[in-house]
Amino acid sequence: MSQINRIDGGLIDQEKVLNFTFNGQILKGYEGDTLASALLANNKHLIGRSFKYHRPRGIVTAGSEEPNAIMEIGNGAYKDPNTRATVTQLYNGLEANSQNHRGPLSFDFMAITDFLSPLLGAGFYYKTFMWPKSFWEKFYEPAIRKSAGLGTLSTEADPDTYDKGFRHCDILIIGSGATGLSAALTAAESGAKIILADEDFLMGGRLNSETNKIDGIAGSEWAKKTVAKLGAMENVTLMSDTTIFGAYDHGIYGAIENRASEARKDNDKPRQVNWRIYTKRAILCAGATERLIAFGNNDRPGIMLASAVRTYLNRFAVATGQRISVYTNNDDGWKTAKDLNAKGFRVAAVIDSRSISPVMRVPGAEICMGTDVVDTKGRRALKSIQLSNGKSIDTDTLAVSGGWNPNLHFTCHHRGVPKWNEEIASFVPDSSPPVGMSVAGRAKGTMVLADAIIEGHNQGSSVAADLGYKTSESKPASTPVVSYNISANWGIPSGKNRAWVDFQNDVTVKDIKLANQEGFKSVEHVKRYTTLGMATDQGKTANVLAIGIMAENMGQTMEDTGTTIFRPPYVPVAIGAFAGRRRGMEFYPTRYTPSHNWSTEQNAIFVEVGMWYRSQWFPLPGETHWRQSVDREVRQTRSSVGICDVTTLGKIDIKGEDVSEFLNKVYANAFAKVPVGKTRYGLMLREDGIVMDDGTTARMSENHFVMTTTTANAVNVYRHLQFCHQCLWPDLDVHMISVTEQYAQYAVAGPNSRKLLEKIVDPDCDISNEAFPYMAAGEITVCGGTAARLFRISFSGELAYEIAIPTRYGDSLMRVLMEAGEEFNVIPYGTEALGVMRIEKGHAAGPELNGQTSAYDLGMGGMISGKKDFIGYTLGLREELQRDDRLQMVGFKPVNPSDLLLACSHLLGLRDKATTENDQGWISSCIYSPILGHYLGIGFIKGGHNRKGENVRAVDLVRGNDVEVEICSPHFVDPEGERLRV
């Protein structure tokens, strides 16, 4: 039979039938249903299994606090594990499957654990599984892991997209119940910019679940009208199906908007949007969540929150059973009986733990005051309840109300501590919520609806007034005053029967008491020892109950027992939503150099250097191994001419009267007297004396310098220079701008480099060796008037230049240079050949400037000026940095020239064992030199500067290589630097 529990009415569209499946069975529901309400309409009470004991479980709540009804929704890569049926809007074709059972849901093989439960109490695993030692990883733990966990990830890439968005408002109102709507009305009427957000897809909060009348009409009707009114106002943004998940600093809130229905229709649409909402103020109107009472076997399918029974009845037109009973400790629980009566259902019994007179008449129901439920029967569905007065009552649904906990979570996100309020037997927000947040209504502990509405109304206007908006006098909506009385009830001793506190994690009253007995008395200890409140519902229905049980057990107050800390997120949030579009190739930005298109045409192989893609080598037809290409590029450059894109180097334009002085402070070597038209190598230290970066700086005119930095440090160096200027020497006349992106820069290297350049440099620019010697720099024009900068500097050790041109000409210049170089057989070379040549030449680069080496270590101690103060001078003199046995940079060559040498080998004495004590250093950079015909490396060895000629072993245990090497000078090619100057 279809939807046997469905009745007429409700806030659903009974004309629009939706088909869905649960564990393969085809079922029907209506537009406006949640998955949970549709399941209940179809009398599906058993919907899942608990985490540890695999107990049969049913739907308990009608909201995001649901501990039991968590399912896998969808299939394949779209499968969503651990999804709450209670907040999943039903759609046509929805496919739901229960999780965490072996075999069918009704005969879960793992339910054996329930019978072993005496063995499996809180913390049992800390006391066993230790013998034999090796069995933990091999046997015990895999078994535990397999049985743990809940839903299953698809293991396929998430096919959906997620967006991020930013919104700004004066006032964010969290929650669109009676309080939130009242606050929104007065705030919005003032003209303030309002965002009203609610996690439900239907705004109105509990008004949609209750039968209260507001301003003379049904509460749900009033909510609908009010939402429509707000929606028509320009200064109001309504965000339904949007869960605020966290309160962050300075009024920033995180929110997740669910757009699954759009994503299902169109795969390009985001499934969710992660909003960052910037607010001046926020009013928390998140209402309250009902809690359970601990009694024997209180976890059977059919035992639900009293408020949830009303939600299903009133909003979803579902009667959760035919013989419903109510168990309460407060007046509110009685409303369930009243609403059932109003819909024509007879209530089996109302059990109230308070010894007072009945709160109302419930015709036909057995009324038991001062009575508790002590046990229940019915394994897969509730059949009967046993009372403390000895009676047994047949019932298929038990509506339980243990009172209401204000949803004060966000008030604790900045570590506010809730305080206990005896009158409502709940924790309420303390006086220090996050800056800018105020609380109204039941979230604040104002349990009477009429009062909550007034509170919302007043706060909406006072917060707006606080922000300078003019508020008008208006009256709050009116509703009859219904009092709320409660007497805390944490459950009575349940004897042998287990009484559940945390349903999902299977934490019972006994577990809590055992934890206390074993010395775990702090609420945090109990949580950690028993896993209480750590399930997907984060203890929303369990925590306060647990604190009550602890307080009673240890004979202390609720306040002294305290609460655990509420942290974001308020409800679990998909990781994909936090990542947004930052995935795949869009994870980080990609930077191309100006020659990228040209290089792509040449079939260049690219390598990542930071964000940049640089050409690594340029294979020619027939070259099958990268070494063939690289060796050729090196040989060709050293014998004729090669071109390399070095645009990625950091470039900083510096102008001002005091630049010389400034550079003299930030470079370790002397910079006070660089002549105009000259470039100088600069070594930059950190303040701690360790090398930070190196590069060249050219003096283009009296007060104009151009600095280059390494690619990796471009950003850091610029930031550092700004610090030095703005913070250390604010009065120096220095002005800097990074021009890394503004200039394309190419190295033109090799004996024919001048000849090549002379073909494109305009005739009035003399670049002969006499006019433009080694280390010269100047402004030139090329190709008939295009301004460029030329530097005669060399990283390869050959006669070489670097030419810089505005980026927009970068592609053209590359093509022009290649064309002009045809007669010299010019080749482009990539970063590999660049690396080979710099290592042959003994230049330190990234692997050597690794943030652990000093100028002395690098053999550049001689450059250090002792005549000036500069960044890194004083601390660079510290004793340990000056020791002779520090790791110092030298060259290494294999004693047997045919031996393979590997970078990052460590260095050992010839007969030493590989131990940490014997470790003498490491090879930082290593290449095969096509010029010398063998491998060579540079690296660091203890006291290396004085050990040249000594033989040691370069040992790579990771890849299994062990060769004898000779310590030598790192300058393998042209150590005198003659080729540079020709």
Partner: protein, 420 residues
């Protein structure tokens, strides 16, 4: 005193008799009027381990551990549970290797199952430069007998088919794994050490905040606490996260900044990830707990903070890093996020040392690596407190190392705590 031996037999016996026989895991004590040989300030993992090893290795049992709140409430109570000894520098590697060896025998030593699980840790490699850096490190590990394994991309793919190998911004080229690395049930470490120390006679005193030190003529004679003054022949501070605040009470300023590190856990999921995966290039690392949650983290929030909570930019960065290599986790939901306060030192390495105040010792500066160090930290600190001599694997962890220029800077980023 408890002295209850834990075993499967004991669990069975208690199950049959209603669990009436379980005694407190540790003995809650009040301060002794005549004081202690050693007071450990801070009942976190390191403090409790120190007390345990003082008693066990050195026979010093007249010891109190003073804890401001509840034991294990510091970083041992909130971390990403990873243990490993894959360090680069000789000042660090032997220390962390000792720690890993102590982890390997901890459960039998303590008779407490902290679920030490050597499921392996794997660092992904995305570039030649990174490969070199990891091989240098791998060799350091092998020189220290810590073990490691170099995996080519193909092997990585075989083991973890869900990793995005090709379409990623940083394609995976290789990995360096330490099979002996893994994870531990973090809270249990504090409880196990507390139980072990308590059984050997150590007083564990909770809700006892140290408010000052009694120092005369440059010598520490005891501490002032919310439970009154307590005398001690020697005081060892061990309060990472609060080091600067506590040591300031003794007039000592430290080369430490306090920063917040966020960490994250998802809802429980059936096993998908059996070891620890570290994606350094994307600032993301992840493992899966025995309970099924994916436990992950990334970088510091980067500003000084004592607030124990972070902000959204880092949350989004870390999750992006996860999606960049493991796009299957998009539909896993983040359940909890939390922020712990880190003692970020000026070179990223810790301190275990005496101080300028006689009989006052200091252990801290653990940055975000303190959890894995817990056993060795306690072991070496106890050694120093008992013998006045640093343990041989902890000789580099001196407070004066910056004065001398003997930094232990694994990352090479210099005196910039938020970059370590």
């Amino acid at each position: 005193m408890s002295k209850t031996h834990y075993s499967a037999f004991k669990v069975l016996k208690e199950a049959l008799t209603g669990h009436k026989g379980w005694e407190p895991t540790w003995r809650d004590a009040e301060p002794k009027a005549d004081g202690y040989d050693v007071i450990i300030v801070g009942g976190g993992g390191h403090g409790l381990a120190t007390a345990y090893y003082l008693a066990k290795n050195h026979g010093i049992t007249n010891v109190a551990v003073l804890e401001r709140g509840w034991i294990g409430s510091g970083n041992v109570g909130r971390n990403t549970t990873i243990i490993r000894s894959n360090y680069l520098l000789p000042g660090n590697e032997p220390f962390y290797e000792l720690s890993l060896q102590l982890w390997e025998n901890l459960e039998q030593d303590l008779n407490y199952n902290a679920m030490i699980s050597q499921r392996g840790i794997m660092n992904l490699i995305h570039s030649d430069a990174q490969r070199d850096a990891f091989i240098r490190r791998g060799n350091s590990m092998l020189f220290a007998d810590a073990g490691c394994e170099y995996l080519e991309a193909k092997e990585v793919k075989e083991r973890y088919p869900f990793l995005d190998m090709n379409n990623a911004r940083f394609p995976i080229k290789a990995a360096l794994a330490q099979p002996r690395g893994g994870t531990v049930r973090h809270d249990a470490v504090a409880w196990g050490y507390a139980r072990g120390a308590s059984d050997l006679g150590v007083d564990i005193i909770q809700n006892c905040e140290v408010t000052g030190f009694n120092i005369e003529n440059g010598k520490c004679l005891g501490v002032q606490t919310t439970k009154g003054d307590i005398k001690a022949n020697r005081v060892g501070v061990c309060v990472a996260g609060s080091s600067s605040r506590v040591m300031e009470k003794a007039g000592i300023k430290l080369p430490i900044e306090s920063h917040v590190l966020q960490a994250f856990v998802t809802e429980g999921l059936k096993p998908v990830l059996d070891n620890v995966i570290t994606f350094g290039a994307g600032h993301f690392y992840c493992s899966q707990s025995d309970k099924g949650g994916l436990v992950f983290g990334g970088d510091l929030d980067s500003y000084n903070s004592y607030a124990q909570r972070g902000n959204l930019p880092v949350v989004e960065d870390v999750c992006s890093g996860g999606m960049a290599i493991m796009p299957m986790i998009g539909r896993a939901r983040l359940l909890r996020m939390w922020g712990g306060v880190m003692d970020m030192s000026m070179d990223g390495s810790p301190f275990i040392d005496s101080t300028e105040v006689k009989e006052l010792f200091f252990n801290g500066g653990w940055c975000y690596g303190g959890f894995k160090a817990t056993p060795a930290s306690g072991y070496c600190y106890a050694h120093l407190l008992a013998t006045d001599v640093p343990h041989e694997v902890a000789t580099a962890y001196r407070l004066d190392r910056f004065r001398r220029g003997a930094m232990i800077d694994e990352k090479g980023v210099g005196p910039q705590p938020n970059l370590h």
